[in-house]
Structures are given as structure tokens and as C-alpha cells.
């Protein structure tokens, strides 16, 4: 929330001694906040509630999917209020405009924005609470405001200290200050300190609650059979065999399949296997194989007109000035997110009200979809926060919520819908495949004189809008119209504007004086969405492999070459320099080669060196040195953990990750054919964090992009083979 916004405190005298209920409304006519109503509490904004018994409650506006937003954002509040993060009573916020992501304008979590977007607003919100508590204390104690300070959840006056709760009733009657001062960095107590995550204990004892753990009275379980090809619908279904199975109460048709409802999960799971469904297959996609996609992309590079995303300088002159020119193509496949908690949702509909419990990166879209499919007003849908068993972009696309709501409505029962791992693998939304071509030249002085990059592939916006629009637009807008609008967004973009995330990362980091980045949109109808680090997850592989090739052509050490070509980008240059020094300090290990890569994404800068050995055609990554500049660090241990995690996630993609399409269906089904990196393959990771006074930027994603090219560049040193396709496979 911003302090200057038109907020006001609505107070109401309650019988029995003038107790106050503070309720903040965004606007005079805005919806009430989905918060606990506590008599005598101070609720100066949507985020922080201080109760008379001195509970400082923080309504966490972002979703916690492992990235540590719960800890980072709690730390911001803790800092300005001087309450240890572990002492805060943290609740997941419901849906309300005040909880919108300032970077998105809607309520959603992603893009490594949580800390960046809230760094100042959340501190201002907490500082406002601090200031109004101090004013109330001055008034109640009859002392000068300037004689008061705060410490550990107390107002301090000379040698006496008083819990905040003592002043909440008075504070709730006061005007909020228009502006507040934030604590200077020199006085930070919690920001920048290594404090253990507040959710670690619950997550180490099996007591953290995820969507799949929620039970309701009378709840039944649903399992859905979907068309093997995305977008297919039911032509005919034989339900008798399923209906005859023990515990089964309903077999229902929903938009995209057939749902079996039973008293127990295993009953629903077993009965769903008995369904005999004939599908109406979508025309375009059911003719598609991975090979078709690759061939079409290759053909498009030759014969399709490209849309220009960015151009600078004079490309022809740049190539003319080059003493060496290199052209290469890079392939990166479709990928599944595969968070460890499969998709699930619990939905309950009663009269014109509905409630939903589900791990989601888009609670607002979730609310809208439940309203639409339950046929109730949006404001009557309560979205309950739960921990997410991984997100990585997958949980921004809440088709599982849409399904669960349809089933709950039709079966007229509270429903827990659980996807199997096979469902998750085969009916998800995917990181799009890409073919990238880069042609570049190096001049005599070792500078990149020309850079021309082209990406061929599908965009992300259309598929994502397909799910988001029905959730965001008023429920009165029919589904057909929202579908049309989503497809329109996609087709309007084609040939007219570039979906920037399709090419992000191909244009940056280096001093490209003469450059062009082009895009050729080719969409075969595979549902796609954001996947950890989005466009950077594939563009960095092409860019950083190419940079290595150029350094080699120029006959310059790869670290030197990068430093020489990043004169205009001091922050990326600095991480390259630091990683280069760390690399030199490591020394050479017999039988191992070190590859290097650097990439800026989500306003953070990361350089990595990967120590790799190759034997019997097997690539083994032993150690990764990772240098990150993410501005002011809120919690160094979480930054370190996110770098480690992103490296492991990126290594899964580098060494194993591949989703194949066969006649439009996804071939992979579980972790045997979509392997995830395991402990015996995990390298040692050394993380170096740059000390910085810049405002904080993202850490959930930026650790991922450099790892695949760093490993590929190491493999080149070890074997002389330039691997330009992911996953990396030696010839």
C-alpha cells in the first residue's frame, strides 16, 4: 500500500467500554479486507495488525513456494517495527486490491518481484504503524513523542517499556501520518542478517499445510480423465464401470474431461481407470511431433519473415569490421515444471458463497475462476492461503482450480481434486521449445562488433491469458469471449509486437554496438507458460555459448573477453570479475574442466564457473562457483539457498530435461522418463554475494540461466565438442 493513497480508518464504537474495530478500506466503496476482526486492534493498513495483547500480525501478500518471500517480506516488517521476524504472527493474505503486486497491478507472485516490489511499500506500511503507535503512546503516557523510542515490540520511555498492544486502542483513533521516515541502512538489525527461515520448523516437522493437506467435512475426492492432446473434448464416455466401483458417488463431464467423484482418493483414482472415453481431438496439435516442431522452426529460420525486437547501430558495418564471424544454432526443448506437490485444489460451494484452498501464484485469478465456475459473485469467494509445494511458474496457471470448481458445483459436494504425477506431466503447461540462431563478429580489438540473434518459437502470452482472462475479467463476460480475447491477444501480437519474454536475454549484458534481435512466432498449440527464469532459461544458453565461441575465435581467455565486452555494464562486469578471481583461486583439478557463463536477469547479475568432468560420455558437475549481485540483501542465507536451488533446477534442464510431443500428446509421464537431478549428481555450490547499496532485486530466478552454458562450455574444454542443444548429450 502507498501511504498517499486514499485510505481511511473506519472506526466503530462497540458497546462495553468504547472498544474499537479498525477496518481499512481501499476506497470508501472498496471491499472489506479479508482479515481477522479483533476488538481494540490497530489495523492501519492491509498488512499489519497489532492486537491489544501485543500480537503483531503480518498478512503476507505474496505466495510462499519455497523462494522465501515469507521470510524476506517478514524481515522488512520486522525491521521497521523492531519485532524479530520469528515473533511475527504471519498469515497468508486473502484476495484484496491492497495485496496487489505493485509490479503487476494484480495479485500474483512471480518474476522474482516479491522483494523488489515490496522493499519500500512494505517498510512504509510498517513504519506508519510504528509512528502511529508512538504518537498514541505519547498521548497515553502524557510525554513528548521525542522522548520515546521502540525496541523488541515495545515502546520505550526512559527506563520503562510498554508493549505495543497497550496503545493500539488509542492509535486506532489517530490520523495516519502522510509520510514516514524509513530506517537508515546503518541501523538495520534484521535486514541483511542471517536469520533462520520462519517456515523451516513447520517444514521440518510435516506440520506446514499445503493445499493437498486440507480436509473439509463431507469432502469427496475427484480424479479427472483428460484428453491426451491439450484442447480436446469428450465425444462419448462410458461411465457404468466407473460408477459401479466402490465409494464412487458421481461421474461428471466437465469442460476438458470426465471427473470421477468418490469418498476416498484411491477409490476415485481406481474408478477413473475404468472410464472409457472417446475424444474429439484438436486438429492442429494432434498432428504435431517434436520432430515436426523442430523441422518447422528450421524452415522458419530460412523462409519466414522475422519481427524485429531490438536493433542498434549498423549491423552490416559491424560484420564488415569483424575479423572473425561465427554463426550457430541452438535448440532448447519443451520442459515441464514438475513441482513436487502435484496440482490440487479443495473447493466448497454453499449457496452463493464459495471457498477455495489451493497452492496458487495467482490468488486473484483463482478467485475469479471459482466465481465463474461456481456461479457466485467474486466477492463471495474466499481464497485461503496455503504453502505451495513448489511453483516455478506452473501455479500461475490454475486450470486445476477451474476443474475442481466445476466438479464441486456439479456434484454439489466439497471436493478435493488431486492430479497424479502423470496428470501433472501430461496435462500441464510447458516452457516452450526454441530454436535460436546467433550470428556474431569480433573485431581486431576483441570487441563484439556485430550481434544478430533470432529466436523461433511460441510466445507465452496467449496461453497464459487463456487461463488468466476468465479469472480477471468480470464473470459476466462469457467464457467464449474470454477465450476469444486471449487468442486475439496472441494473434494481434504476432507480426505487430514482440512478446518480450520470448527474446529476453538475447539482447543484453554486453556492449553490442551493432545488433539486432528478431523473433519468428511459430505456435503449434502446445500450452505454454512461464517457467523459472522464463525467456532467460533458454536465451542465456545460446548467448553464453556463443560468447564462449567468440572468445575462442578471438583467442582471448573467456573471462577477459567478457570483461572487455561489458565496459558499459559495470554490475555484470563486476560479477564476471569476481567469479573469474574465484575461479583462479580454485586452481586446476586433474581430469576436470571449468566452464564459465554470466547473465543478468530480473535486475540481478550472476556469473558462474562450473567444474566438470566427462567420462564414458557422462557429464558430471562437481562444483559451481556462483557470484550474485542482487542489490541490498535482505537475508543472505536465503539468497544463497535460491542460488543453490536455481543451479540444481538449471542442471536438471541442462543434463536431463526434455518433454517430447507425439501426435500432440506429451510422451513423458513420471520421474523415470522426466528425471530430476538427484543428490548423487548435485555439485558443491559456493555462493559469493556482492555487497551492495542498490535496492534489492530478484533472487528466485537469476541463478538459473548461467548454469547450462557454464556446463556446456566446460564440456567443450573437456572434449572439444560444442554442444548446442539441451539437454547436453555427447556425440
Amino acid at each position: 500500500m502507498s501511504i498517499s493513497r486514499r485510505t481511511f480508518l473506519k472506526t466503530a464504537g462497540i458497546a462495553g467500554g468504547g472498544l474499537i474495530i479498525g477496518v481499512v478500506l481501499t476506497r470508501g466503496d472498496g471491499p472489506a479486507l479479508p482479515i481477522k476482526k479483533i476488538n481494540g486492534a490497530l489495523q492501519a493498513n492491509a498488512f499489519i495488525q497489532v492486537t491489544p495483547d501485543n500480537v503483531v500480525r503480518f498478512y503476507l501478500p505474496r505466495d510462499e513456494m519455497g523462494q522465501g518471500a515469507i521470510m524476506g517480506l517478514a524481515t522488512l516488517v520486522a525491521e521497521e517495527l523492531d519485532v524479530h521476524p520469528a515473533q511475527l504472527d504471519i498469515e497468508f493474505a486473502g484476495v484484496h486490491p491492497d495485496y496487489n503486486n505493485p509490479d503487476f497491478g494484480v495479485q500474483g507472485t512471480g518474476g522474482s518481484t516479491s522483494i523488489k516490489a515490496h522493499y519500500r511499500p512494505l517498510r512504509e506500511a510498517a513504519a506508519t504503524v510504528r509512528e502511529v503507535l508512538l504518537s498514541a503512546a505519547a498521548q497515553d503516557l502524557g510525554v513528548a513523542r521525542t522522548d520515546l523510542s521502540i525496541a523488541d515490540g515495545h515502546v520505550v520511555h526512559s527506563r520503562e517499556s510498554y508493549p505495543y498492544g497497550q496503545f493500539t486502542a488509542t492509535a486506532a483513533t489517530l490520523e495516519l501520518p502522510e509520510t514516514v521516515a524509513l530506517k537508515p541502512k546503518a541501523e538495520f538489525k534484521y535486514i541483511g542478517a542471517d536469520i533462520a527461515r520462519v517456515d523451516a520448523l513447520a517444514k521440518s516437522t510435516g506440520t506446514a499445510v499445503y493445499g493437498i493437506d486440507v480436509d473439509l467435512p463431507g469432502m469427496h475426492y475427484a480424479v479427472v480423465q483428460r484428453c491426451p492432446v491439450a484442447g480436446g473434448t469428450v465425444k462419448r464416455v462410458a461411465t457404468q464401470a466407473a460408477l459401479a466401483m466402490p465409494g464412487v458417488t458421481d461421474v461428471l463431464q466437465i469442460e476438458n474431461g470426465v471427473a470421477v467423484v468418490a469418498e476416498r482418493y484411491w477409490q476415485a483414482h481406481s474408478a477413473a481407470k475404468k472410464l472409457e472415453v472417446e475424444w474429439l481431438l484438436p486438429e492442429l496439435l494432434s498432428g504435431v511431433d517434436t520432430k515436426t516442431v523442430e523441422a518447422d522452426y528450421q524452415q522458419a529460420l530460412i523462409s519466414s519473415k522475422a519481427d524485429e525486437s531490438k536493433a542498434e547501430g549498423d549491423l552490416d558495418a559491424g560484420f564488415a569490421a569483424a575479423v572473425k564471424t561465427v554463426q550457430s544454432e541452438f535448440w532448447t526443448p519443451y520442459l515441464a515444471h514438475a513441482p513436487l506437490e502435484p496440482m490440487n485444489a479443495v473447493v466448497s460451494i454453499e449457496d452463493d458463497h464459495a471457498e477455495v484452498w489451493s497452492g496458487t501464484q495467482g490468488p486473484q485469478i483463482t478467485q475469479g475462476l471459482v466465481a465463474r465456475y461456481a456461479g457466485v459473485p467474486k466477492e463471495n469467494v474466499r481464497v485461503h492461503g496455503v504453502y505451495l509445494g513448489g511453483g516455478f511458474g506452473r501455479r500461475g496457471y490454475v486450470n486445476y482450480v477451474a476443474e475442481a470448481t466445476q466438479v464441486a458445483r456439479a456434484a454439489n459436494k466439497p471436493i478435493k481434486l488431486i492430479w497424479s504425477r502423470e496428470d501433472d506431466m501430461r496435462h500441464g503447461v510447458y516452457r516452450p521449445a526454441s530454436l535460436m540462431q546467433i550470428k556474431a563478429g569480433v573485431s581486431e580489438d576483441g570487441k563484439i562488433s556485430a550481434w544478430h540473434a533470432t529466436r523461433v518459437g511460441a510466445n507465452l502470452i496467449g496461453g497464459t491469458m487463456n487461463m488468466a482472462l476468465p479469472g480477471i475479467l468480470p464473470t459476466a463476460v462469457p467464457k467464449g469471449v474470454t477465450n476469444f480475447a486471449a487468442s486475439t491477444v496472441d494473434s494481434i501480437m504476432d507480426g505487430w509486437a514482440i512478446d518480450h519474454v520470448s527474446v529476453e536475454g538475447l539482447e543484453g549484458d554486453y556492449d553490442f554496438d551493432n545488433m539486432r534481435v528478431d523473433h519468428i512466432t511459430k505456435d503449434h498449440g502446445v500450452p505454454t507458460t512461464y517457467w523459472r527464469s522464463v525467456g532467460h532459461s533458454f536465451t542465456a544458453f545460446a548467448k553464453e555459448t556463443m560468447i564462449d565461441e567468440l572468445a575462442q575465435q578471438a583467442g582471448v581467455n573467456e573471462v577477459e573477453f567478457r570483461i572487455n565486452n561489458t565496459q558499459r555494464s559495470p554490475r555484470i562486469q563486476n560479477v564476471i570479475r569476481r567469479a573469474g578471481a574465484a575461479l583462479a583461486a580454485l586452481g586446476e583439478v586433474e581430469g576436470r574442466s571449468v566452464g564459465f557463463a554470466a547473465h543478468g536477469s530480473f535486475n540481478s547479475y550472476v556469473a558462474q564457473a562450473a567444474e566438470v568432468s566427462v567420462s564414458n560420455g557422462q557429464i558430471k558437475v562437481h562444483r559451481v562457483v556462483c557470484v550474485v549481485d542482487c542489490g541490498q540483501v535482505i537475508n543472505p542465507d536465503i539468497v544463497k539457498g535460491q542460488m543453490e536451488g536455481a543451479i540444481m533446477f538449471g542442471l536438471t534442464a541442462a543434463l536431463h530435461g526434455n518433454v517430447d510431443i507425439e501426435k500432440g500428446a506429451i510422451k513423458q509421464s513420471n520421474f523415470h522418463d522426466y528425471p530430476i537431478l538427484r543428490m548423487d549428481e548435485a555439485p558443491v555450490v559456493d555462493v559469493i554475494i556482492i555487497d551492495s547499496d542498490e535496492d534489492p532485486t530478484g533472487v528466485g530466478e537469476p541463478g538459473l540461466p548461467p548454469i547450462a552454458p557454464a556446463v556446456a562450455n566446460a564440456v567443450y574444454k573437456a572434449t572439444g565438442q560444442r554442444l548446442r542443444s539441451l539437454p547436453l548429450k555427447l556425440a
Binding site: A196, D215, L340, E644, H672, L677
Partner: protein
């Protein structure tokens, strides 16, 4: 009726005998700490101890555990009475999304029960059946080795938790 011991208590269920133990424990007995990740013995999220051995319960029909002793993450330790692994897990900030961690801890407890001073290679081998999609492997490994190093007089982890009166912040030795 199938009867077995769940965290020290005898329980009975009339769930159909082919129901995997995981779902019986989660839905019939309401212990949600053990997780469903793959349903195919590939990820380890559902790991429990059956007569002291770490087993994948998503593929274990409940009929197969009649008369056996089952320990889940809830039986290993609680927030008030932590198992040493859980204490170190929380202290060292091991979990990210946390979804795999019950299974990781159960596998780790079984490892230390059999081999109180594992080498790194022992840990790699024992833990290779547990996927962590968030990639917490370096921390999981470090936490296990920390507990191994600190446990000068190790004995079976389950007994430790059951006999301990340790509070949060203390550790069970």
C-alpha cells in the same frame, strides 16, 4: 479390517486392502506430514519407516503392513519435541518449499539408524531416492553430516524421539 501400529498406537482400517499405505495414513488417520509426489516409488516424498526401514508407501498396499510398526514424520518428532535431524534441518534452513522434506528426513533417519557415521558417498547413495525439486541437496547433505558428527553416542532415532523431552531449540541426542 487391517491392523498395524502407527507411531506407537495400534490402529485398524477397513480401507480396501489395495489402498496404498500413504493414503490410509493421510486420509483415514489424518496424518498429513507424509506427502504424495509421484505414486510410483520414484521421489521419496511418501517415505515412512516400516519396522525401522525407510519405505515408499505410495506403492505399498495397506494389506502388506498388517501387524507391522509404521513411523511417520509425526512420530519421529514434533515441533515441541524435535528429533535431532529436524532441529538441525530448521537451524540450517534446509527446506525451501518443504514438500519433500518429510520424506528426506525419514530417509535420513533410517540412514543414521543403520550407519551413524556415514561418509558423503553413503549419504549420496542413501538419499538418491529422494527428489528435491527445489534443489536443497547441499543443505540436506550438510544437515545429515552435522547430525552424524554431533551424535557421539547414537542409537535408533525413533527411540530417541519417543524418550526425549527436548523443546524447540534444544536437540535430542
Amino acid at each position: 479390517m487391517i491392523s498395524f501400529t502407527l507411531n506407537g498406537k495400534t490402529v485398524q482400517t477397513d480401507d480396501s486392502p489395495d489402498t496404498p499405505l500413504l493414503w490410509v495414513v493421510r486420509d483415514t488417520f489424518g496424518l498429513k506430514g507424509s506427502k504424495f509426489g509421484c505414486g510410483a516409488a520414484l521421489c521419496g516424498a511418501c517415505t515412512m519407516h516400516i519396522d525401522g526401514s525407510a519405505m515408499r508407501t505410495c506403492v505399498m498396499p495397506v494389506s502388506a503392513v498388517a501387524g507391522k510398526a509404521i513411523t511417520t514424520i509425526e512420530g519421529l518428532g514434533t515441533p515441541e519435541k524435535l528429533h535431532k535431524l529436524q532441529a538441525v534441518w530448521a537451524e540450517q534452513g534446509v527446506p525451501q518449499c518443504g514438500y519433500c522434506q518429510s520424506g528426506q528426513i525419514m530417509s535420513a533417519a533410517a540412514l543414521l539408524g543403520n550407519n551413524p557415521s556415514p561418509t558423503e558417498a553413503d549419504v549420496d547413495q542413501a538419499m538418491a531416492g529422494n527428489i528435491c525439486r527445489c534443489g536443497c541437496y547441499p543443505r540436506i547433505k550438510k544437515a545429515i553430516l552435522t547430525v552424524a558428527a554431533e551424535s557421539s553416542a547414537p542409537s535408533a532415532p525413533e527411540e530417541l524421539a519417543a524418550n526425549s523431552t527436548a523443546k524447540i531449540g534444544e536437540v535430542v541426542l
